[in-house]
């Protein structure tokens, strides 16, 4: 029997709820707009578990749910459905594509890209294949390959489509004002008026404003969009993070919790609620911190190597364990280079007086030319720190 170094969690009290008590606030099959569809896809898949078409339809549905709801458990469902084909060498383009998405979802970016490339080789005329390839190149800070993807998208799908990609590249490479204009045009386009497109474009427009230092516009755009579609986890989380950053703790907490019971909160929103509570000194900090601690303890018992951003925030922003946070940041940076991770990395290095440790962030920012007001200030502090020597550590 394998024993673990970590202490097991304390047992929870058992109780008998009243018959009418709600024990699950939102059934997995009964989310808005998919009352019968997911049930139907699941039933078809269960009836024919070896039917690849049925499995792919289910896997796509649950993967999309995971993406929209920020719930990793749906990725687990997609992976379980595709289990017989996880090592298959002969798949249709859709099979390679979904398998690639699952791989990248668990940080196997190289494997994910390889499968997406196979999908493109079989069917180059699917925009989403290209968009994910672009996304993964950007995630790994490979601006040159992301630019090549943009050119290919323009060639295959037209300039209007490619312009949105260009806008993203612009605000990720130090040119946010031009990106704001391009994204504003895209968001007003009659082609982009469906709910999902408006959610994603609002997110990126807000991000471009934030990178340009126009955080009031960002907050306004995200708040307006959340009023229209309160279910967007991405916008809710991004807004809560920004409000916390700006010291608007009461608003941040209202956005993070939003009439949801605390146990139903995602880890990321719970973390933002905790930071907001500490900032607002509203007396809920202890309870929220206990919840977060219990979740991280359960995650630790799983012995997984996935690095979780809520954990990084807990260790660095919340200050639970700065040294562990810096070590985790160094490890995480080798996998993915995202602005949010960059900020946490530099904060930990500064707090510990080990400015030189964050050299890879400075190097990345100089190479990609990415900057935003928060990171710019942190990098200035880093370079002014006595422990900063420049060059690799």
């Amino acid at each position: 029997m394998t024993s673990l170094l970590a202490m097991p969690l304390a047992a929870q009290e058992r109780f008998l709820p009243a018959s009418s008590a709600v024990v699950l606030a939102s059934s997995v099959y009964a989310k808005e707009g998919r009352l019968s569809r997911l049930r139907q896809l699941d039933q078809t898949r269960r009836a024919q578990p070896q039917n690849l078409d049925a499995v792919l339809a289910y896997a796509r549905a649950v993967f999309t749910l995971g993406l929209n709801e920020g719930d990793l458990r749906w990725y687990g469902s997609a992976k379980a459905a595709l289990e017989p084909w996880l090592n298959a060498e002969q798949l249709p383009a859709e099979g390679y594509f979904l398998r690639g998405l699952i791989k990248q979802g668990f940080h196997d970016f190289r494997g994910g890209l390889a499968d997406i490339n196979r999908a493109i080789a079989l069917d180059a005329h699917q925009t989403e294949f290209w968009s994910w390839r672009f996304a993964l190149h950007l995630l790994q800070a490979d601006i040159s390959l992301a630019s090549e993807d943009t050119a290919e998208i323009a060639r295959l799908f037209g300039e209007t489509e490619a312009d949105i990609y260009r806008a993203i590249l612009l605000y990720r490479t130090g040119q946010p004002f031009q990106a704001v204009q391009m994204l504003t045009r895209a968001i007003r386009s009659p082609q982009n008026q469906d709910v999902s497109s408006q959610d994603w474009l609002s997110f990126h427009l807000g991000e471009a404003h934030r990178v340009a230092g126009q955080t009031e516009q960002t907050i306004a755009i995200w708040e307006d969009r959340l009023k229209l579609n309160g279910k967007s986890h991405l916008l809710r989380l991004s807004l809560a993070e920004l409000l916390n950053q700006k010291g608007q703790y009461a608003k941040a907490q209202a956005i993070a919790i939003n009439q949801t019971d605390i146990p139903s909160l995602t880890d990321a929103l719970l973390m933002q609620a905790l930071l907001a509570s500490r900032g607002a000194k509203d007396g809920r900090e202890v309870v929220l911190a206990q919840q977060m601690e219990a979740r991280l303890q359960a995650q630790a018992l799983r012995q997984e190597k996935l690095i979780e951003r809520p954990k990084l925030i807990y260790q660095i922003d919340y200050g639970k364990d700065l040294a562990a946070g810096l070590a985790l940041s160094i490890e995480n940076w080798q996998l993915q280079r995202e602005p949010a991770d960059a900020v946490l990395f530099v904060k930990a290095a500064l707090a510990l007086g080990q400015a030189q440790a964050a050299f890879p962030v400075v190097d990345w920012a100089e190479r990609t030319r990415y900057t935003d007001p928060q990171l710019r200030l942190l990098i200035q502090q880093l370079k002014a720190h006595p422990s900063w020597k420049g060059g690799r550590p």
Partner: protein, 382 residues
């Protein structure tokens, strides 16, 4: 916008992959096997969300699941649970008995909590908490590949925990296994095994030992004379092995205790590079570095590699010292076995051209090539 929707999903990943993929904990069940007043009890807490995924509990389709809706499916749920959780004592299945279904609140929501008082038939002379028990758990894995069960064993003479997964759905629970001597023995074997299957460690060690039966001279290594006396050869070998042992013990202990947390991204390539340098050093002839110094410096790096293996194997909190000591001892025994096999052969053939040209020079060149291949492979260059 159909095409663009796909693009937008991609961008979401590009910019907030972390926030999306890591926004919610993975799914866990909590199992507790305990002994209360001579009675075995088994408790399984399963998230209602996971149960809903399997049973589609929302009967009235109002989007919520109530306790009444859960209870109305209790017969199916109990049958499902008792099929997916199998407890055995000394190889024979235990009867779980009646299921007591309640709820429990965890940090991420409400769980269904099932409690059993299993009956197991064991030898009358054997105490149940000392019998060899095994637990198999297969619930939810086919619905969620990331689902895990976290088992806590709480006997008066034995406390431990374990992780059950689709790849490893069964664990043995045996109080005797936690005795420090058993732990020591188990980790000695792990240590020996790791050295014997670790080609990089063997190549490094042999590269450091291959010159021992020759007398250094101001000539190329293929012209060195064979050693005339055994004693300095043995002392040289002992110096190398001791330096390597001291060095890797230091970093192994520092890593296991959490004082150092090196990234495997540089540890593994550095181990491969140490193999290259050790072999290259042999070809430098008289200008080569003292081999015990190399053994010490690179032993520090190899210690990080050993720690990574040990952490992967898992460490018992209650017998940490026994496990750490056992693993280290196993590594030493594994090394000594290699030295014991190599040194008599090297001593026997030290006077031959074959030894100097093929074993020393040729072998070192081969190790350099293989080591370079490993280095490139581990930094992702291949």
């Amino acid at each position: 916008m159909k095409a663009t929707l796909g693009f937008l999903c991609g961008l979401l990943c590009a910019l907030l992959l972390g926030n999306v993929a890591w926004a919610h904990s993975s799914s866990n069940s909590y199992l507790t096997l305990s002994m209360l007043a001579e009675h075995l009890t088994l408790r399984a807490d399963v998230h209602l969300r996971d149960l809903d995924l399997v049973f589609d509990l929302d009967e009235n389709r109002d989007g919520q699941v109530t306790w009444a809706e859960t209870q109305s499916r209790s017969a199916e749920i109990m049958s499902w649970m008792t099929q997916g959780i199998v407890l055995k004592a000394s190889g024979k299945s235990c009867s779980l008995g009646p299921t007591d279904l309640k709820a429990s609140l965890h940090a991420d929501g409400t769980y269904l909590s099932a409690l059993w008082t299993p009956t197991c038939s064991v030898d009358p002379k054997e105490r149940l908490d000392e019998a060899r028990l095994s637990l198999r758990y297969t619930l939810i894995f086919t619905q969620d590949n990331l689902h895990r069960a976290l088992l806590k064993v709480d006997f008066s003479n034995h406390q431990s925990s374990a992780l059950l997964s689709p790849e490893r759905p069964e664990v043995d629970v045996n109080a005797a296994d936690s005795h420090p001597l058993r732990v020591l023995g188990r980790y000695v074997i792990e240590g020996v095994w790791h050295i014997w299957i670790g080609l990089d460690h063997i190549a490094f060690l042999l590269s450091l030992l291959v010159l021992a039966p020759l007398e250094s001279a101001k000539r190329t290594v293929v012209h060195w004379q064979a050693a005339r006396h055994l004693r300095p050869v043995v002392m040289d070998v002992l110096a190398v092995v001791t330096a390597f042992t001291i060095a890797h013990s230091i970093t192994l202990a520092l890593t296991i205790t959490g004082l150092l947390t090196p990234s495997p991204d540089w540890v593994e390539p550095a181990i491969a590079l140490s193999v290259v340098l050790a072999a290259f050093n042999n070809l430098l002839g008289n200008s080569s570095l003292k081999r015990w110094r190399l053994a010490f410096i690179f032993g520090l790096v190899h210690g990080f590699g050993f720690a990574s293996v040990l952490l992967d194997v898992g460490l018992p909190a209650s017998s940490l010292l026994a496990a750490l000591g056992g693993f280290n001892l196993g590594v030493e025994l594994g090394q000594l076995a290699i030295v014991g096999a190599f040194l008599p052969l090297a001593w026997t053939f030290r006077k031959t051209d074959f030894y100097r040209w093929v074993v020393v020079a040729g072998g070192s060149l081969v190790v350099i090539v293989v080591g370079l291949f490993w280095t490139l492979q581990r930094i992702g260059g291949l």
